[in-house]
Amino acid sequence: MSMNSRLKRAVESEPVPSYLESRVRATIREAELEKVRVWWHAPAWGLAATAAVLMVGFFALRRQENATIGGLTQQVSSFMTVGLTDHLHCTMMRKQQAEPSSLEAMKSQLGPRYAALLPAVESHVPVNYRLLDAHQCKAQGRDFVHLVMQQGDRYLSVVVTERRAGEAFSTKNLVPSLAQAGIEFYQQGAGNFQIAGFESAQHLVYVISELPAEKNRQVMMAMAGDLRRVLPAL
């Protein structure tokens, strides 16, 4: 055997710790979260600066009626982050359980009112993901029904919340990214997250993940029909 082959064999005999990959992933995950936290908990001066920019923008818009894109973009972000709030609250900021809850436990956590959401979502869990948990929760003063899917260190949330008076994607001057079977889908990226959403008469529904935008929207479209059928009875 040549010297190079012997060297190679010797070096490759060094065992690699089984936990190394998850340790590295956890570090990256933490850095990723840090980015989100910075973005999410914007410092007061940042908000003040944003407000000042918006005021300047407002007066500029008064003078230039056609220049409305910046304002609309701001509205899109604020409305789509309703669902993202809950995703961040439950899957990112809190330690997740290692093993999936049983379907019975999920049903129980959802309660009789929302248990029907479970089969509607369960039948459309994306390939390689598993349904991890389903529960009712509250974030920033708003009630949510939250179904969590997991693939390794990545989470995908289906978030349902009741519409408040006057709340609708359409009244927020959003433009649907796609319409299918009478359902209009809205889409927005925020940091590394993709948010897809649609609305029913009483509810706003979001799918949030770190999947590419198109894949995230496909997940939403796949389950939208079943969810739409279930939502009126909730």
């Binding site: 010297m3 190079n4 060297l7 005999s13 060094e14 710790p17 340790r23 999947l211 590419p212």
Partner: protein, 183 residues
């Protein structure tokens, strides 16, 4: 329409498969597993942060090794007091000997122990070129040194390694080749 691939997915697909190789190289270069783990963790964090600068289609493995040696050099200054290369080279110039190739009966542990005794700069080049099979040019770019220095360190590193292993073989009393003093 093709689905766009996110940076995170690209990073996962292109960078993660090289983690074991990087860890093994780091272990040999640093001589300690826990430090190697720390450095590999740091390499991947830095790589993830700057992955937007990585050009798709270029050699991700070489890029990661470049970051690895950047981190290693940083930590060396912190953790170790290595002799300066110039001193090492001068020492070797006057002490190099020629020995036969590695005797077959030596174990992986013998080879690793001999490698660990080599001066770090030579060990790095031997690991990159002989073990990880990088081209001289790639090794030069990874280490940030001229290609001529890579070749010279490789040649000296190999000779040192052979010499060291020859000594081990003679200690076993089952081989070893006659030494020939250089010059």
């Amino acid at each position: 329409m093709p689905t766009p691939i996110s940076n995170n997915e690209r990073f996962e697909a292109e960078a993660t498969p090289h983690m074991a190789d990087l860890y093994r190289t780091a272990t040999r270069v640093l001589g300690e597993r826990s430090r190697a783990e720390d450095v590999v963790q740091e390499v991947y964090l830095q790589a993830w942060k700057s992955f937007h600068r990585f050009e798709p289609g270029t050699n991700c493995r070489a890029w990661l090794y470049k970051i690895l040696f950047h981190c290693v050099n940083h930590h060396r200054r912190k953790w170790f007091r290595f002799p300066l290369l110039k001193e090492t080279e001068e020492f070797l110039e006057t002490n190099l000997t020629y020995t036969e190739p590695i005797p077959e009966h030596l174990t992986d542990e013998d080879i690793l122990a001999a490698m660990d005794q080599m001066p770090a700069d030579f060990r790095s080049v031997v690991l990159l070129v002989d073990v990880e099979e990088f081209a001289y040019k790639e090794a030069a770019e990874i280490l940030g040194i001229p290609i001529g220095t890579v070749m010279s360190r490789l040649s000296r590193g190999r000779k040192l390694l052979r010499e060291s292993l020859d000594e081990v073989a003679k200690d076993y009393g089952v081989g070893g080749s006659p030494k020939e003093t250089k010059g």
